[in-house]
């Protein structure tokens, strides 16, 4: 493991973005993600790139809009209340079809909430947050290494589809240190940014960055085009992990992010008691990995359980994916309470009826 280094999740995000060619970073302090901005303030000037602390999250996301429209790779980072403020800008960015990466290191809400780990921004990330018919690609890494890989992928996916990509983790992921490796990555073939508003560059017409379509026909046509793009993303970009799903199962857990690791511990505990439980771990929260459910649905006796650090937000997507074919259960903690493996195992025993 010679080339592995121990890094804090938040710092690894920054380094991953630098590796991916992020040219500008616009941030604003908020716990538990402030280390991203702190890291970027140290590193970006050293590599001749731009770090700027904005006066607010509203300003930061609009700086992102400006830089993304000019065709450079750009990232911003925040935590829940800050993402709420960015929602307007994210909608504009999606409407204007600009690529960028947005980090959300989630804390408990609503309102000012708390600063401990939570997953309560699932709806906000996957179902809008801002206004209008837009979609955000949402990556949910479960380890610092996966965070490093997905942040880099996020820039590629954003550029490929001209769409904002969010990488979402909880406070644990941002604050913990784990070994990471910055692997050599094959260079992706990506479309040239001929749409960028960065000067005429010999073009006949100025490029315009815009999301305003006052004629209903034109706005609908624009929306239809966006929808086509979203269908394309759904086809190509779904990512998930199946864990312990090969044999007949008593139940299948659905869980993402660091919590999925706690669920794996619970699965190991249950195995010792003769209860076989599988795990679907969505890595993309949107597009949601519906196909993962189809793969395991005939192998689970008691259906599924959505395990969340929120009050039943992902549960709705699990229900949609299962579509009444099997029972769907729920276990969630919130407010920064992190479930223990034993707690999850107990809940599952209650459903499947104790040891076999």
């Amino acid at each position: 493991m010679a080339d592995k280094v121990l890094m804090k999740g938040n710092e690894a995000i920054g380094e991953a973005a630098i590796h991916a060619g992020c040219q500008c970073f616009f941030g604003y302090p908020i716990t538990p993600q402030t280390e991203v901005a702190a890291y970027m303030s140290r590193r970006m000037p050293k590599v001749g790139r731009v770090f700027l602390q904005a006066e607010s999250e509203v300003a930061a996301i609009n700086m992102v809009y400006g830089a993304a429209g000019a065709g450079v790779r750009v990232m911003t980072s925040s935590s829940s209340p800050g993402i709420s403020l960015k929602a307007e800008g994210i909608s504009y960015i999606a409407g204007a079809e600009l690529p960028c990466v947005i980090i959300n290191i989630v804390r408990g809400g609503p309102g000012l909430g708390g600063i401990q780990p939570a997953q309560s921004d699932y709806f906000q990330a996957t179902k809008g947050g801002g206004h209008g018919d837009y979609r955000l690609v949402v990556f949910a890494p479960a380890s610092v290494q996966e965070m490093v890989d997905l942040v880099q992928d996020a820039f590629d996916v954003a550029d490929k589809y001209r769409n904002p990509v969010m990488v979402m983790g909880d406070g644990m992921l941002g604050q913990m240190m784990e070994p990471v490796e910055f692997k050599e990555r094959p260079k992706k073939e990506l479309p040239e940014k001929t749409w960028a508003a960065n000067g005429l560059k010999g073009r006949e017409k100025h490029n315009v960055i815009n999301s305003l379509f006052l004629k209903p026909e034109e706005l609908e046509a624009h929306n239809n085009k966006l929808q086509e793009k979203y269908r394309e993303i759904e086809k190509n970009e779904v990512r998930y992990e199946l864990y312990n799903c090969d044999e007949e199962m008593d139940l299948v857990i659905v869980s993402y992010g660091t919590l999925s690791r706690i669920c794996k511990n619970a699965i190991k505990m249950l195995k010792k008691e003769g209860i076989n439980v599988g795990l679907i771990r969505p890595i993309t929260l949107w597009p949601y990995p519906v196909e993962a459910f189809d793969k395991v649905i005939d192998k689970t006796k008691n259906g599924f359980i959505s395990v969340e650090m929120s009050c039943g937000q992902m549960l709705e997507d699990v229900q949609l994916a299962v579509n009444g074919r099997k029972p769907v259960h729920f276990y969630g903690r919130s407010g920064g309470m992190v479930p223990t493996p034993a707690e999850i195992a107990n809940k599952i025993k209650g459903i499947v009826g104790g040891a076999k």
Binding site: P29, S41, E57, L112
Partner: protein, 187 residues
């Protein structure tokens, strides 16, 4: 007591004061809060001459989040997000909030004080009293900027911090009444 979203206290205070005009309403805001994310709210509350009082605590840093650069951070000052010292070429210049607010007609009383010594603390107390009196008289918006220390995030002992405030902050942020419309005084 209301807890407002970061920077929005003057808007929340406006809502309270308009709903219950005979209540005494004040906001208590840090420099990151008031001079960064909440600039629009404070400027417009002052411009409207809201009959509220703002106590503005300026410690030249974001304290709560662990010591990042604030709009009031001095040129060259090292913070977590200005690790090489605030470079005015990229991070701009500190904002003198009291002077800025004084330019607004709705602001009736604006004073900058400091809590680095007993005489200054007594002056601060007087200023705050006066600011509230102005609100009670229904004259308009009042603001007291209080220069204060942040030993933890400055990385200094309390004694060193007081010295740092005197040597660095007061020269940049001169103390005194910036505006008193009750006497016609504008500095």
């Amino acid at each position: 007591m209301y807890e407002a979203a970061h920077g929005r206290a003057p808007a929340v205070a406006t809502g309270i004061k308009r709903a219950v005009p005979d209540s005494v309403v004040f906001t208590y805001q840090g420099d990151g809060d008031l001079a960064a994310i909440g600039t629009a709210e404070i400027v417009h509350a002052a411009a409207r001459g809201e009959r509220i009082t703002t106590i503005f605590v300026n410690n030249a840093i974001y304290g709560m989040t662990g010591g990042q650069m604030a709009p009031t951070t001095l040129p060259g000052q090292v913070t977590e997000t200005s690790p090489y010292g605030r470079d005015v070429k990229t991070a701009g210049y500190p904002i003198r909030v009291s002077e800025m607010i004084s330019t607004l007609d709705g602001a009736v009383y604006v004073e900058r004080v400091s809590v680095d010594s007993v005489p200054n603390i007594i002056k601060a107390k007087k200023a705050i009293k006066k600011a509230f009196e102005i609100q009670l008289q229904g004259l308009g918006f009042s603001l007291v900027e209080v220069l204060s220390i942040c030993p933890t995030n400055w990385g200094l002992s309390p004694n060193e911090s007081v010295k740092w405030l005197r040597d660095n902050m007061i020269p940049y942020y001169p103390l005194g009444v910036k505006k008193d419309a009750t006497t016609g005084e504008v500095k």
